[in-house]
Amino acid sequence: MAAKTIETAQRFINAIPHSKALGMQIASANEGEVKMQMPYDEKFIGDPATRVIHGGAVFALLDTCCGAAVMTHPSSQGSTATIDLRVDYMRPASPDQVITATATCYNITRTVAFVRAVATDERTDKPVAMASGTFVNGGGK
Protein backbone atom coordinates (compact mmCIF):
# COMPACT_ATOMS: atom_id res chain seq x y z
CA MET A 1 0.00 0.00 0.00
CA ALA A 2 2.69 2.48 0.99
CA ALA A 3 4.66 1.86 -2.21
CA LYS A 4 1.54 2.45 -4.26
CA THR A 5 0.72 5.70 -2.49
CA ILE A 6 4.28 7.02 -2.88
CA GLU A 7 4.14 6.17 -6.56
CA THR A 8 0.74 7.86 -6.93
CA ALA A 9 1.98 10.94 -5.08
CA GLN A 10 5.25 11.17 -7.03
CA ARG A 11 3.34 10.89 -10.31
CA PHE A 12 1.03 13.63 -9.08
CA ILE A 13 4.02 15.93 -8.43
CA ASN A 14 5.88 15.14 -11.66
CA ALA A 15 2.79 16.05 -13.67
CA ILE A 16 2.62 19.54 -12.13
CA PRO A 17 4.86 21.94 -14.07
CA HIS A 18 5.06 24.59 -11.33
CA SER A 19 5.93 22.07 -8.60
CA LYS A 20 8.60 20.66 -10.87
CA ALA A 21 9.95 24.17 -11.54
CA LEU A 22 10.33 24.64 -7.77
CA GLY A 23 12.15 21.31 -7.40
CA MET A 24 9.60 19.65 -5.10
CA GLN A 25 10.07 15.99 -4.17
CA ILE A 26 7.97 13.47 -2.29
CA ALA A 27 9.72 12.24 0.86
CA SER A 28 6.96 9.94 2.07
CA ALA A 29 3.29 9.28 1.40
CA ASN A 30 0.63 7.46 3.34
CA GLU A 31 -3.13 7.55 3.16
CA GLY A 32 -4.02 11.21 3.63
CA GLU A 33 -0.54 12.15 4.85
CA VAL A 34 2.30 13.36 2.64
CA LYS A 35 5.78 14.71 3.33
CA MET A 36 7.48 16.81 0.65
CA GLN A 37 10.79 18.59 0.32
CA MET A 38 12.05 21.62 -1.55
CA PRO A 39 15.82 22.25 -1.66
CA TYR A 40 17.10 25.80 -1.22
CA ASP A 41 17.61 27.73 -4.43
CA GLU A 42 18.91 31.29 -4.88
CA LYS A 43 16.06 31.87 -7.36
CA PHE A 44 13.58 31.66 -4.45
CA ILE A 45 15.16 34.51 -2.48
CA GLY A 46 12.55 37.05 -1.39
CA ASP A 47 14.81 39.24 0.71
CA PRO A 48 18.21 39.82 -0.89
CA ALA A 49 19.56 41.34 2.34
CA THR A 50 19.11 38.11 4.33
CA ARG A 51 18.92 35.51 1.47
CA VAL A 52 15.70 34.19 3.05
CA ILE A 53 13.38 32.57 0.51
CA HIS A 54 10.09 34.27 -0.37
CA GLY A 55 6.94 33.29 1.49
CA GLY A 56 5.36 32.55 -1.88
CA ALA A 57 7.73 29.61 -2.46
CA VAL A 58 6.86 28.15 0.96
CA PHE A 59 3.17 28.73 0.20
CA ALA A 60 3.51 26.86 -3.10
CA LEU A 61 5.17 23.88 -1.33
CA LEU A 62 2.47 23.80 1.37
CA ASP A 63 -0.31 24.07 -1.22
CA THR A 64 1.14 21.22 -3.30
CA CYS A 65 1.72 19.06 -0.21
CA CYS A 66 -1.86 19.66 1.00
CA GLY A 67 -3.20 18.75 -2.45
CA ALA A 68 -1.13 15.56 -2.42
CA ALA A 69 -2.51 14.66 1.03
CA VAL A 70 -6.03 14.98 -0.37
CA MET A 71 -5.16 12.82 -3.40
CA THR A 72 -3.71 10.02 -1.26
CA HIS A 73 -6.74 9.88 1.05
CA PRO A 74 -8.72 6.66 0.54
CA SER A 75 -11.92 8.68 -0.01
CA SER A 76 -10.33 10.93 -2.65
CA GLN A 77 -12.13 11.10 -5.97
CA GLY A 78 -8.91 11.45 -7.93
CA SER A 79 -8.57 15.16 -8.52
CA THR A 80 -8.52 18.26 -6.38
CA ALA A 81 -8.26 22.06 -6.34
CA THR A 82 -7.62 24.51 -3.53
CA ILE A 83 -10.68 26.34 -2.22
CA ASP A 84 -8.79 28.37 0.36
CA LEU A 85 -5.48 28.20 2.14
CA ARG A 86 -4.07 30.20 5.02
CA VAL A 87 -0.38 30.21 5.82
CA ASP A 88 1.11 31.58 9.04
CA TYR A 89 4.78 32.46 8.73
CA MET A 90 6.32 31.88 12.15
CA ARG A 91 9.96 32.51 11.39
CA PRO A 92 12.23 33.04 8.39
CA ALA A 93 13.54 29.84 6.78
CA SER A 94 17.31 29.58 7.19
CA PRO A 95 19.14 30.12 3.89
CA ASP A 96 20.76 27.07 2.23
CA GLN A 97 18.45 24.64 4.07
CA VAL A 98 15.92 22.18 2.66
CA ILE A 99 12.27 23.00 3.45
CA THR A 100 10.17 20.02 4.51
CA ALA A 101 6.39 20.16 4.50
CA THR A 102 4.08 17.59 6.11
CA ALA A 103 0.39 17.73 5.27
CA THR A 104 -2.51 15.81 6.79
CA CYS A 105 -5.94 15.47 5.27
CA TYR A 106 -7.77 15.10 8.61
CA ASN A 107 -11.32 15.10 7.32
CA ILE A 108 -12.90 14.49 3.95
CA THR A 109 -16.51 14.61 2.78
CA ARG A 110 -17.99 13.71 -0.59
CA THR A 111 -17.12 17.19 -1.89
CA VAL A 112 -14.65 18.88 0.47
CA ALA A 113 -11.31 17.91 2.05
CA PHE A 114 -9.91 19.60 5.17
CA VAL A 115 -6.14 19.79 5.39
CA ARG A 116 -3.43 21.20 7.60
CA ALA A 117 0.30 21.28 7.10
CA VAL A 118 3.52 22.33 8.74
CA ALA A 119 6.80 23.42 7.16
CA THR A 120 10.23 23.31 8.78
CA ASP A 121 13.79 23.86 7.66
CA GLU A 122 16.62 21.64 8.93
CA ARG A 123 15.81 22.66 12.47
CA THR A 124 12.73 20.50 12.90
CA ASP A 125 11.56 21.48 16.39
CA LYS A 126 10.47 25.00 15.41
CA PRO A 127 8.11 25.34 12.42
CA VAL A 128 8.84 27.88 9.71
CA ALA A 129 5.20 28.04 8.62
CA MET A 130 1.86 26.34 9.17
CA ALA A 131 -1.04 26.04 6.77
CA SER A 132 -4.69 25.17 7.01
CA GLY A 133 -7.21 25.03 4.23
CA THR A 134 -9.99 23.36 2.32
CA PHE A 135 -9.79 21.57 -1.02
CA VAL A 136 -12.31 20.30 -3.55
CA ASN A 137 -12.71 16.52 -3.49
CA GLY A 138 -12.95 15.49 -7.13
CA GLY A 139 -13.83 17.50 -10.18
CA GLY A 140 -11.55 20.47 -9.79
CA LYS A 141 -13.17 23.78 -10.67
Partner: protein, 172 residues
Protein backbone atom coordinates in the same frame (compact mmCIF):
# COMPACT_ATOMS: atom_id res chain seq x y z
CA UNK B 1 15.24 82.86 -7.21
CA UNK B 2 12.90 79.87 -6.93
CA UNK B 3 14.17 76.62 -8.39
CA UNK B 4 12.34 75.49 -11.52
CA UNK B 5 10.41 72.24 -11.00
CA UNK B 6 11.85 69.26 -12.86
CA UNK B 7 10.26 68.40 -16.24
CA UNK B 8 7.46 65.83 -15.80
CA UNK B 9 9.26 63.24 -17.94
CA UNK B 10 12.30 63.36 -15.69
CA UNK B 11 10.15 62.96 -12.56
CA UNK B 12 8.32 60.00 -14.08
CA UNK B 13 11.51 58.37 -15.24
CA UNK B 14 13.12 58.61 -11.82
CA UNK B 15 10.05 57.19 -10.09
CA UNK B 16 9.81 54.30 -12.54
CA UNK B 17 13.52 53.65 -12.07
CA UNK B 18 13.05 53.56 -8.29
CA UNK B 19 10.21 51.03 -8.64
CA UNK B 20 12.11 48.85 -11.06
CA UNK B 21 15.20 48.95 -8.82
CA UNK B 22 13.12 47.46 -5.97
CA UNK B 23 11.38 44.86 -8.13
CA UNK B 24 14.50 43.69 -9.95
CA UNK B 25 16.43 43.28 -6.67
CA UNK B 26 14.16 40.38 -5.57
CA UNK B 27 15.17 37.10 -7.26
CA UNK B 28 11.81 35.37 -6.66
CA UNK B 29 9.90 38.17 -8.45
CA UNK B 30 12.25 37.70 -11.40
CA UNK B 31 11.86 33.91 -11.26
CA UNK B 32 8.07 34.27 -11.43
CA UNK B 33 8.35 36.83 -14.26
CA UNK B 34 6.15 39.30 -12.40
CA UNK B 35 6.14 42.93 -13.57
CA UNK B 36 4.69 46.16 -12.22
CA UNK B 37 2.98 49.05 -13.98
CA UNK B 38 2.64 52.41 -12.29
CA UNK B 39 0.05 55.16 -12.66
CA UNK B 40 1.03 57.78 -10.08
CA UNK B 41 1.05 55.90 -6.81
CA UNK B 42 -1.22 53.11 -8.12
CA UNK B 43 0.46 49.83 -8.97
CA UNK B 44 -0.79 46.95 -11.10
CA UNK B 45 1.10 43.67 -10.95
CA UNK B 46 1.22 41.51 -14.06
CA UNK B 47 2.10 37.83 -14.19
CA UNK B 48 2.49 36.88 -17.87
CA UNK B 49 1.40 33.29 -18.51
CA UNK B 50 4.12 30.70 -18.69
CA UNK B 51 3.89 26.91 -18.94
CA UNK B 52 5.82 26.41 -15.71
CA UNK B 53 3.16 28.30 -13.72
CA UNK B 54 0.62 25.55 -14.36
CA UNK B 55 -0.67 23.42 -11.49
CA UNK B 56 -3.25 21.35 -13.36
CA UNK B 57 -2.10 20.44 -16.88
CA UNK B 58 -5.43 18.74 -17.68
CA UNK B 59 -7.55 21.91 -17.52
CA UNK B 60 -4.98 23.65 -17.77
CA UNK B 61 -5.01 25.93 -14.72
CA UNK B 62 -2.49 28.08 -12.84
CA UNK B 63 -0.90 26.48 -9.77
CA UNK B 64 -2.47 27.67 -6.51
CA UNK B 65 1.05 28.30 -5.23
CA UNK B 66 1.88 30.50 -8.23
CA UNK B 67 -1.32 32.48 -7.68
CA UNK B 68 -0.54 32.84 -3.95
CA UNK B 69 3.03 33.96 -4.65
CA UNK B 70 1.73 36.47 -7.22
CA UNK B 71 -0.70 37.94 -4.66
CA UNK B 72 1.87 37.99 -1.86
CA UNK B 73 4.46 39.70 -4.07
CA UNK B 74 1.83 42.26 -5.13
CA UNK B 75 1.07 42.99 -1.45
CA UNK B 76 4.71 43.32 -0.41
CA UNK B 77 5.57 45.64 -3.30
CA UNK B 78 2.42 47.72 -2.71
CA UNK B 79 3.39 48.22 0.96
CA UNK B 80 6.99 49.01 0.06
CA UNK B 81 6.01 51.39 -2.72
CA UNK B 82 3.51 53.22 -0.48
CA UNK B 83 6.28 54.05 2.00
CA UNK B 84 8.80 54.86 -0.70
CA UNK B 85 6.26 57.08 -2.45
CA UNK B 86 5.67 59.06 0.72
CA UNK B 87 9.39 59.61 1.24
CA UNK B 88 9.82 60.70 -2.38
CA UNK B 89 6.85 63.08 -2.18
CA UNK B 90 8.08 64.76 0.99
CA UNK B 91 11.56 64.99 -0.48
CA UNK B 92 12.99 62.93 2.38
CA UNK B 93 14.54 60.56 -0.13
CA UNK B 94 15.93 60.95 -3.59
CA UNK B 95 14.41 58.22 -5.82
CA UNK B 96 17.88 57.49 -7.26
CA UNK B 97 19.19 56.72 -3.77
CA UNK B 98 16.78 53.88 -2.99
CA UNK B 99 18.54 50.56 -2.60
CA UNK B 100 16.88 47.45 -1.33
CA UNK B 101 18.82 45.91 1.53
CA UNK B 102 20.70 49.18 2.10
CA UNK B 103 18.30 51.97 3.00
CA UNK B 104 15.13 50.03 2.28
CA UNK B 105 13.91 46.82 3.93
CA UNK B 106 10.91 44.77 2.84
CA UNK B 107 7.94 44.06 5.11
CA UNK B 108 7.72 40.48 6.43
CA UNK B 109 4.61 38.37 5.99
CA UNK B 110 2.92 37.25 9.23
CA UNK B 111 0.04 35.42 7.60
CA UNK B 112 -1.51 35.18 4.16
CA UNK B 113 -4.91 33.72 3.24
CA UNK B 114 -5.89 33.02 -0.34
CA UNK B 115 -9.41 32.49 -1.62
CA UNK B 116 -9.43 30.64 -4.93
CA UNK B 117 -12.61 31.86 -6.60
CA UNK B 118 -12.20 30.16 -9.98
CA UNK B 119 -9.40 28.35 -11.71
CA UNK B 120 -6.63 30.53 -13.13
CA UNK B 121 -6.73 30.32 -16.91
CA UNK B 122 -3.62 29.94 -19.08
CA UNK B 123 -3.54 33.72 -19.65
CA UNK B 124 -1.79 36.73 -18.15
CA UNK B 125 -2.96 37.61 -14.65
CA UNK B 126 -3.29 41.05 -13.07
CA UNK B 127 -3.47 42.10 -9.43
CA UNK B 128 -3.89 45.18 -7.30
CA UNK B 129 -3.45 45.41 -3.55
CA UNK B 130 -5.15 47.76 -1.10
CA UNK B 131 -3.62 48.70 2.22
CA UNK B 132 -6.41 48.57 4.79
CA UNK B 133 -4.29 49.70 7.67
CA UNK B 134 -0.65 50.53 7.94
CA UNK B 135 0.60 51.26 11.43
CA UNK B 136 4.11 51.61 12.73
CA UNK B 137 4.44 47.91 13.51
CA UNK B 138 2.16 46.00 11.20
CA UNK B 139 0.00 46.42 8.14
CA UNK B 140 -3.17 44.75 6.87
CA UNK B 141 -3.51 44.31 3.13
CA UNK B 142 -6.09 42.85 0.77
CA UNK B 143 -5.40 42.00 -2.83
CA UNK B 144 -7.46 41.00 -5.87
CA UNK B 145 -6.44 39.17 -9.02
CA UNK B 146 -8.21 38.88 -12.34
CA UNK B 147 -7.49 37.85 -15.90
CA UNK B 148 -9.51 38.92 -18.92
CA UNK B 149 -12.37 40.48 -17.01
CA UNK B 150 -11.69 42.97 -14.19
CA UNK B 151 -14.97 42.22 -12.44
CA UNK B 152 -14.49 38.43 -12.48
CA UNK B 153 -11.79 37.85 -9.87
CA UNK B 154 -10.09 34.47 -9.98
CA UNK B 155 -8.46 34.91 -6.59
CA UNK B 156 -8.39 37.27 -3.67
CA UNK B 157 -6.25 37.29 -0.56
CA UNK B 158 -5.62 39.14 2.65
CA UNK B 159 -2.58 39.19 4.84
CA UNK B 160 -0.71 40.85 7.66
CA UNK B 161 2.84 42.12 7.48
CA UNK B 162 5.44 43.32 9.96
CA UNK B 163 6.72 46.69 8.82
CA UNK B 164 10.48 47.28 8.91
CA UNK B 165 11.82 49.55 11.67
CA UNK B 166 13.43 52.10 9.43
CA UNK B 167 11.78 52.07 6.07
CA UNK B 168 13.89 54.53 4.22
CA UNK B 169 16.46 57.12 4.98
CA UNK B 170 19.00 58.87 2.86
CA UNK B 171 22.60 57.91 3.21
CA UNK B 172 24.97 60.86 3.08
Amino acid sequence: MRQQPEPVQVVKQRRDAALSAIVSAVPYIQFMGIQFERRGDELTAIMPFRDDLVGNPMLPALHGGATAAFLEITSVIELTWATVWQSIETGAVDPDQIQLGQNLQLPKTIDFTVDYLRSGLPRDAYARARINRSGRRYASVSVEAWQDNRSRLFAQASGHFVMPDVVTQTQG
